[in-house]
Point group: C2
Chain length 231, copies 2
Amino acid sequence: MYEDMIELYELAGADPDLRFSPYCWRIRMALAHKGVSARYIPWHFGDKRLPGGHGRVPVLVDDGEVIADSTAIALHLEEKYADGPSLFGDVTSVAHARFIISWTDAVLHPVVFPMIGADILKVVKPGAQAYYRETREKRLGTTLEQAASAVDETLPAARAAMTPLRDVVAAAAFLGGDEPSYADYAAFGAFQWARIVSPTELLEPDDPVYAWRERMLELFDGYAAEAPTAN
Amino acid sequence: MYEDMIELYELAGADPDLRFSPYCWRIRMALAHKGVSARYIPWHFGDKRLPGGHGRVPVLVDDGEVIADSTAIALHLEEKYADGPSLFGDVTSVAHARFIISWTDAVLHPVVFPMIGADILKVVKPGAQAYYRETREKRLGTTLEQAASAVDETLPAARAAMTPLRDVVAAAAFLGGDEPSYADYAAFGAFQWARIVSPTELLEPDDPVYAWRERMLELFDGYAAEAPTAN
């Protein structure tokens, strides 16, 4: 349903089937959670064609309304498609979910990115690679390749940084408790990002986060598991 | 109400009016949230007199039932005093709150403690100081005094680590949204801990976390603001 009304502009690789942005994955999962279909429109670093003049994906166009920023899009979906399963639960959950979202942005992504940044370069379309390298190396303070080569140090630190996520999913199936919630999708985006672009295994099989990631991959008839990957 | 039925064993300083444990403060605030009175029983590091054979505070004794662990106590209060204001909201909120609690334990406390550990030593009763120093210095990997002297490095790092908290309370009054929730109390415990024992100011006045801490201090007619401090 709705497929003619809703467009999601999302990051794509040189292979347009590679949709690896963690933020776009949040919205893919959120749309699936709501049972809402959409047209997924590929966008590449440096492209200028986003509706509403926005500079970053995801951008949602819903029946003519343009919404940017993944959290804003999720809240829009929660309100507009209120008949579908809730993404957030009650008002307390919304505020708490914002915490987990911020943690994902400020902690999880920065520890994952150095390990996969060079792999992302390989899937970015050639015309965007110079832009990608320049902006990401400025952020890293080193080259993509040097950052990737430090995996023996960064991987243990990344796993340690996952402690709050680990503690919750060791005790419950999801960050949402018995049912997945938007906070799950926010955190999962980081793992799906890595999984799609990189052969680096972020998790050990006995890690509760690994089992949670498996549960996330199996949601919606294996929707995320079936996404194309670079490897 | 209930004051004859409920006892909370909590950490005290050499000055028994100094109750600085962040975990015990979670429960103090949770009891206040529920409007439930209790007898507060001081306990010191190394004391052996906790009900149920437990080795750490807080321990709650509610009409003969012994509950240890601050999260378990909070969930007990939520269930038993369900007529009072909810601490968690719905089931999604409970799971999300666990994330914020784990973040407080795994991230916030470890960045705050090195700055205040030497101040805590000053308020611990003399007979417990050797135990306190030995256990805490083993954890720190250095002396309490050396850890405290590194504040110029550790304070900026601590403030940076507060990003998820900051992001939420910059946009909403509390981690619970418009109303305080148990997650607020979990995080606030760390600040109350520091505030009670240490002159070190963790926050700059223009930090949204500072304003949030002020709101927390003003809750329940300034309950936390009026707690005795060492300075």
